[in-house]
């Protein structure tokens, strides 16, 4: 594991481009990749794979349940299947197929669940997942990841192609900040402490990491010392890092683009209780609501999970304890 921070939230990359490019380079390297989609090839960024590499790609049509079970089963012949759809259609819609044909059967499957949570934007509730961590975490032995940036996203894809297993890779398709420098590497099951402090520790998942960094900057301006963990692995949870770090802070805040039920707040909260951690804990997440249409900023605000809300939560605590 050796990563370096980019330290510039303005440098960005489109995840869908990373998806297509990473798949292409792995195919060129001779890896036995099978890229699967269910009528959203144009959206995933893997369009060029379907055009150019016919033997490494298959469009299942709008049949997500069939796609999951069939793709996972292709791994018995040595393929490393990668499937994609919008997050609800490869989580809510297909839980039993993931459970039986992928997990229980010990087949290989990489699920790229795109546009999770508020990233569904104008598509609304039917396309919004605030429960997919809960669904996937509860299936035995499945790895659930929420990359914060293009570099972690590509690393997860490559890790899976090397090692196999079942991966639920939950990430937007959009242009998002580079948290890490290109070429950084990570470790399975390890979260990254990307900022050290002593007052408030923010533990964030996925694109919320960028919001956490922004909140940290504003809190620092107010003289509050902030640490940030990029969780990356939702399951397995990096208990070691969490146990080690929470001891150094007075307040821990978890932030997630997910329902508070079954999300990272619950996972971290349970860990804190088990370790008898001596810190205050706040969890930011969606409070048991369905999705709705809107811009990302609007939805973050409605669901009270913006950097603004992180700052507010930290300040409320500090003011109470001064």
């Amino acid at each position: 594991m050796s990563w370096e921070l980019q330290n510039n939230l303005d440098s960005k990359k489109e995840i869908r481009e990373v998806y297509g490019n990473t798949l292409e380079s792995m195919i060129k390297e001779g890896k036995d990749i099978m890229v699967c989609d269910s009528d959203l090839v144009g959206s995933s960024g893997a369009g060029k794979i379907f055009e150019t590499y016919k033997e490494n790609s298959v469009n299942f049509g709008i049949c997500e349940q069939n796609m999951i079970a069939a793709a996972a089963s292709m791994s018995v012949m040595g393929y490393k299947p990668f499937v994609h759809s919008f997050s609800p259609f490869v989580s809510r819609r297909v839980m039993d197929q993931v459970y039986v044909s992928a997990g229980f059967s010990k087949n290989d499957l990489h699920i790229y669940a795109s546009e999770p949570g508020f990233w569904s934007q104008y598509n609304g509730a039917t396309h919004t997942t605030f429960e997919d961590f809960a669904i996937m975490r509860s299936i035995p032995e499945i790895t659930v990841v929420s990359p914060s940036d293009p570099v972690t996203f590509a690393w997860v894809m490559r890790y899976y192609a090397e090692h196999g297993g079942v991966f639920y890779n939950r990430c937007t398709r959009r242009n998002i900040p580079m948290i890490y420098k290109e070429g950084s590497t990570f470790a399975y099951g390890k979260s990254n402490l990307i900022m050290e402090g002593s007052d408030v520790l923010i533990i964030a998942e996925g694109s919320m990491v960028a919001d956490a960094l922004e909140a940290a900057k504003r809190l620092k301006d107010r003289g509050i010392s902030v640490g940030v963990i990029d969780l990356l692995f939702i399951k397995p949870l990096d208990k070691e890092l969490i146990d080690q770090e929470v001891r150094k802070y007075k307040l821990v805040i978890s932030v997630e683009n997910h329902n508070i039920y079954g999300g990272i707040g619950e996972a971290i909260g349970a860990e804190l209780a088990l370790q008898h951690a001596d810190c205050e804990f706040r969890r930011l997440g969606v409070h048991d609501r369905y999705g709705q249409v809107g811009t990302v900023d609007y939805l973050k605000d409605i669901y009270q999970i913006s950097s603004e809300h992180i700052v507010k939560t930290a300040l409320e605590y500090v003011e109470h304890h001064e």
Binding site: D39, N59, G61, I62, N123, T126, H127, V293
Partner: protein
């Protein structure tokens, strides 16, 4: 009897209102909204009754704008809402939400589920002998979903003679032609094989749709009927009809002009349907 206008004019008005929504929004699922404007016109202009309360289920929920246009023409939603498609805080989201938009009866957008909702509602109405009818529009791409066949089997098994299913056969899904992406359906055999009564008709021809529905209702033969509507994706504006695939479009300037032109040219139809005479 409901107040009626010419079905053709109603369909034009639907497309004009959708155009207004899309121009305000800048993007939208135009192909599948325009292809069903004719069947929507016939249903909303002539068939859907308030008493007994008939049901309409837009299983291909991404065509929500076509549904909203009808609700606007029925004065269930207001003029100012029309320009708020997908805006923050809107009551008109991409996909229909029965708890948000006045007049919307079922929440759809997850393909395959609307038709299951329709068979459930039809069965419940049949058991309760309400006399109400259920009309459901399903996409041809949507028929990829296995759930649609589970619903059709149920409709057949329970002899849902109060359910009329319309398949919008516009021959295209997101990634291309149905026959390339999924399979080349033989609808006649497929649905007959499920013991459903099939009608293969011109789906952008309001007269043919109207005649077929009248015949089905008059015959009252105890069967569940499926109308396979032979339609064109983007029907109504030749620019979109000719496009390779206009499933969801972020409109460029030319396209915005096409939509604006259509709306302006057909403002009269909208006013007429709304009953505003100049």
């Amino acid at each position: 009897m409901m107040r009626q206008v010419d079905n053709r004019e109603y369909a034009t008005a639907i497309r004009a209102v959708i155009s207004e929504m899309f121009v305000a929004r800048g993007d939208g699922h135009i192909g599948g909204s325009f292809s069903i404007a004719d069947v929507m016109a016939v249903l909303f202009n002539k068939y859907l009754r308030e008493d007994p309360k008939d049901w309409f289920v837009l299983s291909k929920g991404h065509a929500g704008p076509a549904y909203y246009a009808c609700l606007y023409l029925q004065k269930k939603i207001s003029k100012k809402d029309i320009t708020t498609l997908n805006a923050n805080g809107t009551i008109l989201p991409s996909h229909p939400d029965r708890n948000l938009t006045p007049g919307v009866q079922c929440s759809t957008g997850s393909l395959g589920q609307g038709i299951s909702q329709a068979v459930g509602i039809a069965y419940a109405n049949k058991l309760k002998k309400t006399g109400a009818l259920v009309y459901c529009i399903v996409g041809d791409g949507e028929l990829n979903e296995g759930e649609t066949y589970e619903a059709l089997e149920f409709a057949s098994n329970k002899k849902l003679n109060n359910l009329i299913i319309c398949i919008d056969s516009n021959k295209k899904q997101v990634d291309g032609l149905i026959k390339d992406v999924s399979c080349d359906y033989d609808y006649q055999k497929l649905f007959e094989g499920l013991d459903l009564t099939v009608h293969m008709i011109l789906g952008n021809d309001v007269e043919e749709i109207d005649d077929t529905l009248s015949e089905i209702l008059a015959a009252d033969d105890g069967n569940c009927h499926v109308l396979v509507l032979n339609t064109i994706k983007g029907k109504g504006i030749s620019y979109f009809e000719d496009a390779e695939n206009c499933h969801h479009v972020t409109f460029n300037e030319t396209e915005l002009k096409e939509l604006t032109k259509y709306r302006m040219e057909n403002e009269g139809a909208v006013k007429h349907v709304l009953g505003i005479t100049e």
